[in-house]
């Protein structure tokens, strides 16, 4: 080794030692140094919910209301109920007429227009998972309905669908697992007002190989309170959310969900647009010693409640993938039929036509797997395996469909004149995203 190389090695090692804070350790300044780093990562965060509402806690409301499971005939059946068909039609129309035209600018702005969020209130999205006696719109558990709704909306636009459905997810969680007081405190903001309270399920954390069952956000007990610390990412509507359902590892217990009013001291938010689903206005949420009352714990910290929430969130993303993949299929069919190359429509070529076939085949598989998992949830059956299968399909085949949507349009697919480039980005969210919304 030449002298020059060795000296280079030396200097790099020296630099590494500094940066690796051997020195700061020796000098006993680890804490201040970390604080500097910490402040750096805090840049851009601001207090959340400043302009948002204050929820008035209700006490002594008694027993929570729960939805019974639907009876059914037990026959294999792919026919939605008349009610579901009606909802499906109207959501599909809303997706085509309202969401699709707004999608491009919402994607660019990384914001969902306020009037669309209000329209979501008019559609009663937040009421679909809530019993009618609590102001909701249903009398039976209806993950299938929620799946069909998410699919129909995402056929219009996935990002806007997430923005619209994130509050509905929190409302459903309250209906499923909230106690009487939690339901009375929070549900009115979702079912009684013109625009439902902006809210979301904050589960994800920013690191590779994130596992929702191995959280780094922590909760510790301090007398009757809980104190939360950590960072959440990919949280829809982060900047305007008034209520977040935050996943944290309760020390000595395991992962649980907390109802966190964003007005609480120590809740900081930052817009953090991603590759896709940008209209959902996703952001990071920093929890700095957030002190919560005992009643903020959802579902008594029951581990099965937490696992169910994770699964239901995954299923919601599956439904979104089915909707957007359907949009891809519907878009490429006329394109390949009309686009002429070498003297005839490119659809006359097997390589093009077979790609369309494969999109249809894989999409149908995704869809059936998603519906099966949802129907099992509604019937009160275990759905861990079925959700995992649906998620695997929707993540892998969904992204593949997004990619081939662009491919079939060639260069045209790469420019924003056509929506397929957005669908390419949106479909990658599935398999990445945990939480955010649930069915």
């Amino acid at each position: 080794m030449s002298m020059a190389e060795r000296s280079m090695g030396l200097s790099l090692r020296a630099l590494g030692r500094l940066a690796g804070s051997d020195v700061v350790d020796r000098l006993g300044v680890r804490k201040p140094a970390e604080r500097i780093l910490y402040r750096a990562t805090r840049d851009g965060f601001k207090a959340a919910g400043a302009a948002g509402r204050t929820f008035k806690a209700v006490n002594g409301n008694g027993k929570p209301k729960r939805l019974p499971s639907a009876a059914g005939t037990g026959l294999f059946d792919l026919t939605p109920t008349e009610e579901q068909q009606m909802l499906q039609e109207s959501f599909k129309a809303f997706g085509q007429e309202q969401l699709r035209p707004a999608a491009l600018s919402a994607d660019t702005d990384a914001q969902a227009p306020a009037e669309l969020l209000a329209a979501g209130g008019e559609l009663g999205l937040t009421m679909l998972g809530v019993p009618d006696e609590l102001g909701g719109a249903v009398s039976e558990r209806s993950s299938v309905t929620a799946v069909l709704a998410a699919e129909a909306l995402a056929q219009g636009d996935m990002g806007l669908a997430v923005a619209l459905l994130a509050p509905a997810g929190v409302a459903s969680a309250l209906a499923l697992w909230g106690d009487g007081d939690q339901q009375a405190t929070y549900l009115p903001a979702f079912v009684e007002e013109e625009t439902p309270s902006p809210a979301a399920l904050a589960l994800q954390e920013p690191r590779a190989l994130f596992d929702p069952f191995a959280l780094q956000t922590t909760a510790r007990r301090e007398r009757d309170d809980f104190v939360l610390d950590g960072v959440k990412s990919l949280v829809p509507l982060a900047e305007r959310a008034e209520l977040l359902l935050v996943a944290a590892r309760l020390e000595g217990h395991g992962p649980v969900l907390f109802l966190v009013e964003t007005k609480a001291r120590g809740v900081l938010v930052k817009a953090a647009p991603s590759m896709g689903v940008r209209a959902a206005a996703t952001g990071d949420v920093l929890l700095e010693g957030v002190r919560l009352p005992a009643r903020a714990l959802l579902g008594d910290g029951d581990p099965t409640v937490y696992a169910a929430a994770v699964r239901r969130a995954r299923l919601a993303w599956c439904a979104l993938a089915c909707g957007t993949a359907r949009a891809v299929l519907d878009y490429v069919i006329p394109h390949v039929n009309e686009r002429v190359a070498f003297g005839e429509p490119i659809a006359n070529r097997q390589s093009v036509a077979f790609t369309v076939s494969d999109i249809a085949v894989e999409l149908e598989g995704m869809r059936l797997a998603t519906l099966r998992a949802a129907a099992r949830l509604d019937a009160g059956k275990d759905a861990a395996r079925e959700v995992a299968i649906a998620r695997t399909l929707c993540s892998e085949k969904g992204a593949w469909i997004g990619s081939n949507g662009v491919q079939l349009l060639g260069g045209h697919g790469y420019v924003k004149e056509h929506p397929v480039e957005r669908w390419y980005r949106d479909l990658r969210a599935v398999g990445v995203a945990e939480g955010a919304l649930l069915v």
Binding site: A70, G72, T73, G74, L75, F76, D77, L78, T79, P80, T81, Q84, V144, L209, F210, D211, P212, F213, A214, A307, V310, R311, L329, I333, V336, N337, P345, A347, N348, Q350, A353, F354, V356, S357, D358, A360, V361, E362, E364, G365, M366, L368, A369, L371, R372, A374, A375, R376, A379, K381, A384, R385, E386, V387, A388, I389, A390, T392, L393, E396
Partner: protein, 403 residues
């Protein structure tokens, strides 16, 4: 109401079929793989049992009835298409080759059950019928078959001439349903199917094939040499109706493709179950809640295979459910066949790799299943033919436009 679980009423049937697969098929699986062309006599008693089951319940475990049932107007039906598919899935979990060798459960029986008139149904009842479509020069392109049928007014017979290959159970069956053309210049519309008695001297066995897999099932080649068939043995209309095109004979496929998809689903499940056990013995278990990327590569691969399996299974059930409910299902039938066919080959070969020499060796059945699997992506329409059918439907293309 949307529900994708197997209805309770089919649970006994699935249980019975599984028992047959486990106790009759599996123990002789390797034997007839090694003794190709030997007749699996163990199946005779079983076939009699299945005949009885079909008589009794109207829903057999084998490849019998796929006749379209009229909707009785009282909502959703789970009928014989679904029960048959469910039975086949179980039996092919046992052994695909042996299912194909089941007496009186041939594809020809499906064709007869699907398109024969009442007189023919009665006359051919209880017979074992094979199906002869493919020719040396006409495989997937079945409209190009060269076997001719010429009507002899004097005797009221059709005279068949040509060569047929890949006739499953052709040597063992009582009848062979032969596709032949009344007029080669007309194309598809002139293609008709004829029921030929195996004993007909004009139907000459040329050879039995030696195959990659499903070796328990015999595959025959025939020469039709002035083979005279009474006109009552023609299935469907004797007229050449160009407006109906290929519909008559091809209609069978809408009903039989989900069955072949079911075969693939059953074989895939066999591979997955054995692999799951061997992986567990090797210390790998799939956790459905934790992200696949945080688990071992083998667990993640298993989950991916299981997902494709489930997609294939549900597509197959969807196609059968549509047939039961008189919904046009040729799109879904081809989607099921395409997905199930490629999934079973893909899964079987990956399972062999995951299981190493245990998967590759002949002591267990995995290597045999991997060989058996390939036929399921070929017969009853290859992968490519399914994709063509799907694409033509989705894109609104004729066969002249999308070749």
């Amino acid at each position: 109401m949307i529900n994708l679980e197997i209805p309770k009423k089919f649970v006994p049937l699935v249980g019975q079929a599984h028992q047959v697969a486990e106790e009759v098929f599996r123990p002789i699986s390797r034997k007839y793989d090694q003794e190709e062309h030997a007749y699996p006599k163990e199946l005779d008693m079983l076939a009699a049992l299945i005949d009885g089951m079909n008589e009794g319940s109207g829903s057999g475990a084998g490849a019998a009835g796929v006749r379209r049932e009229k909707s009785d107007g009282d909502g959703v039906r789970n009928g014989s298409n679904m029960s048959t598919v469910l039975g086949i899935i179980e039996l092919c979990w046992g052994d695909v080759g042996l299912l194909l060798s089941m007496p009186r459960q041939g594809l020809g029986n499906s064709a007869i059950a699907s398109v024969a008139n009442d007189e023919q149904l009665e006359r051919f009842r209880g017979k074992w019928a094979a199906m002869a479509i493919t020719e040396p020069e006409a495989g997937s392109d079945s409209a190009a078959i060269r076997t001719t049928a010429v009507y002899d007014e004097a005797t009221g017979e059709y005279v068949l001439n040509g060569e047929k290959i890949y006739v499953t159970s052709g040597e063992r069956a009582d009848l062979v349903v032969v596709w032949a053309t009344l007029d080669r210049s007309v194309g598809r519309a002139a293609i008709k199917s004829f029921v030929v008695e195996r004993s007909n001297p004009g139907l000459k066995l040329d050879r039995l094939e030696h195959k990659l897999g499903i070796r328990a099932s015999d595959t025959a080649a025939f020469i039709l040499d002035d083979c005279r068939v009474p006109r009552e043995n023609l299935l469907g209309s004797p007229e050449i109706d160009t407006s109906r095109g290929f519909g008559g004979v091809m209609q069978t496929f809408d009903n039989t493709r989900p069955l072949v998809a079911g075969m693939a689903v059953g074989l895939t499940r066999a591979c997955l179950e054995l692999t799951e056990r061997l992986l567990r013995e090797a210390g790998v278990e799939v956790d459905y809640d934790r992200p696949a990327s945080t688990q071992s590569a083998a667990a993640a691969e298993y989950l991916a295979m299981e997902a494709d399996f489930e997609a294939a299974r549900l597509l197959t059930l969807e196609a059968a459910w549509m047939a039961d409910n008189s919904k046009p299902n040729s799109l879904q039938a081809s989607m099921a066949k395409a997905k199930a066919g490629r999934t079973c080959v893909d899964v079987a070969l990956r399972c062999v790799r995951l299981c190493g020499s245990l998967g590759f060796g002949q002591e267990l059945l995995l290597e045999k299943w991997a060989r058996d699997a390939k036929i399921l992506d070929l017969f009853e329409g290859t992968q490519q033919i399914q994709l063509l059918i799907i694409a033509r439907q989705l894109l609104g293309k004729t066969s002249a436009e999308l070749k």
